[in-house]
Symmetry: C2
Subunit: 356 residues, 2 copies
């Protein structure tokens, strides 16, 4: 039996590029997709020949398990182009590892690293015109895996589809966000799937978030489900708090996503001589710090958001406005990260990955 | 503007029935589907004209939000046929109400009750040959809703599809099941979506269940995520414990599905003069009762499983075998329920719903 070779991607090119129909100065996040997509099916116990084809709708059975039992995991990555037209990814091995950790938790098969990189690189080379140079521009990359087997028994599927689609992007949040600390609803349980980029984790947040939005807040910072005393993450972002000149962020656990931007910020803090404590952060201490003036910043980190400053938080009907300071850590980390990502500064940790 | 009328279902009939290709004596749960499906799209803020069409694969964008953020809810129901060819559902208004409760928790639109019933009844009349008479035979009905909008921003979709597919079924579990009490993994959090039939709740159970299966157990009985001290539900079944002649089952909360079979068993127990306590059930008391011989039965209840006796449980490496007794409550409730469902006995609570 011949094993499938990831180098033998079957490529069907798009006949007409859609790129001239896109207004790159007015992009809404995640609505426009590039000309091509990468697809690889898992059948008969193995990943089949990978394909790149024009971005298009798929045919799938209504009984596909993804629709019924939520076997679906994803990643979020970005590609950047420098002024010389070189294309870079940022720490892509982290995303490759994480999608497989997510998949394992949902009883889905591992996608081989060589397939992941070969598929991604071939796709990006084909759609390279969609990556615009300049800080703030990027191509958002969405690898995901869904259970396709047409059978509605509640057990892991026998067939899956791994797909990569790409969407040109500006920064996800442009304005500082107002957040609400969760008091009633929860994002995830101890022993659950909160650490995984599992599709179901996101839908579960939409209703509580809509309630927060009705109260005038953009996002929720989730607290631990047992006591609601400790601040965890924001669903699409990890969260950092700056008290005086020290950063604090919650440790990873089985409820919190192991964010790539989060771990990069922790490293950058070390590089820049900024103290960063990774430990439980209580609602009580953040409210106390807001009251006594020692809370200088809150910001979120994530691939889509990059760094997103928080301008206010609410808890138990107390609202605290956070003055946006000059020379904030948020802006320092954002510019430092963007410079590395766009090949504008040294890359001492080897985070950039060039697509050749 | 004319509102869509649920009575105006657009029907496209299948040209050739598949029914003669199906071996009804050898059905694997959820793999064979009837000739037709019901489909209704939500677009522009309202449900559009409902359709019945031949069961078929769908065309859907890879960027559809269901694949990325898990906005997907479902129901499980069954249709039964008596010896005179009359078709019955069992408490279908419970399923209609529950899919809308699930949808609300996932920020999805309510599906109108008249659409639900009109669609379901029209579909069942068209595919009535697929419902075989006789206790043990049924047509499993799977209404579900998925987010179809092609946009990968992490927020509720603007478009959805409501679908009903049907699959002929025998009882889901034929043998008593061996279960493991959860000690590490969790199904849901306080303030989460455990009470909803949300797709993501199921995928989250597959990996821990696979570990249980490697240890020789079929299912997990989930415990509360905070302490793992209290027994909750089994993921596809609610759970009842019989100590001496008294039944105990966990109360509904935001972690536990409000099962239709569960509430029917509680009512039947009352009718039959069997004491049934709805209260927290601790692992400790069940182990103590197993040791002193007062634990007579454990059984699961669910639409797919009906009543599923448990023959053994494990906790903290202690394994307890449960002798299957004659005249068990499990078999009493099962036969009582099946008789009502199949129009073989009185229906004093009005649970049967005839499809005319």
């Amino acid at each position: 039996m011949t094993e499938t070779n990831p180098n033998e991607i079957v490529i069907v090119k798009s006949e007409n590029s859609k790129i001239n129909t896109v207004d790159f100065s007015n992009l809404i996040f995640g609505r426009v997709f590039t000309d091509h997509m990468f697809v690889c099916d898992f059948e008969d116990g193995k990943w089949q020949t990978p394909q790149i084809m024009p971005y298009q709708a798929m045919t799938i059975e209504p009984s596909a398990r993804v629709f019924h039992y939520g076997q679906a995991v994803f990643e979020g990555m970005k590609a950047y182009k420098d002024e010389n037209g070189k294309i870079f990814l940022f720490r892509p091995n982290e995303n490759c590892n994480r999608i497989n950790k997510s998949a394992a938790r949902l009883a889905m098969p591992k996608f081989p690293e060589d397939y992941f990189f070969k598929g991604l690189e071939t796709l990006l080379r084909l759609d390279s015109e969609w990556i615009k140079p300049g800080v703030g521009n990027s191509l958002y990359i969405r690898p995901f895996v869904i259970a396709t087997e047409p059978a509605i028994s509640a057990s892991p599927a026998a067939s899956y589809r791994f797909i990569i689609i790409c969407s040109p992007a500006k920064a996800y949040y442009n304005e500082p966000v107002r957040v609400l600390f969760a008091e009633k609803y929860s994002r995830s349980a101890d022993g659950g799937v909160g650490f995984a980029k599992a599709a179901g984790n996101y839908a579960a947040q939409f209703y509580p978030t809509s309630l927060a939005q009705k109260k005038g807040f953009d996002q929720i910072i989730w607290t631990d489900a047992s006591s609601h005393k400790y601040l965890e993450e924001a669903g699409t972002m990890n969260i950092f708090f700056r008290i005086h000149d020290k950063l604090i962020t919650a440790p990873n656990n089985d409820r919190i996503l192991d964010g790539v931007t989060r771990k990069s910020v922790i490293q950058l803090a070390k590089d820049l001589g900024i103290e960063c404590e990774v430990r439980r952060v209580s609602v009580k201490e953040i409210k106390a710090a807001a009251k006594d003036g020692s809370l200088k910043e809150i910001f979120g980190t994530g691939t889509a958001a990059v760094i997103s400053p928080v301008s206010a938080f609410e808890h138990a009907d107390d609202v605290f406005e956070i003055d946006q300071i000059k020379d904030s850590y948020a802006s320092l980390f954002k510019s430092t990260l963007l410079d590395i990502q766009h090949n504008l500064s040294d890359d001492k940790h080897g985070w950039r990955y060039e697509i050749r």
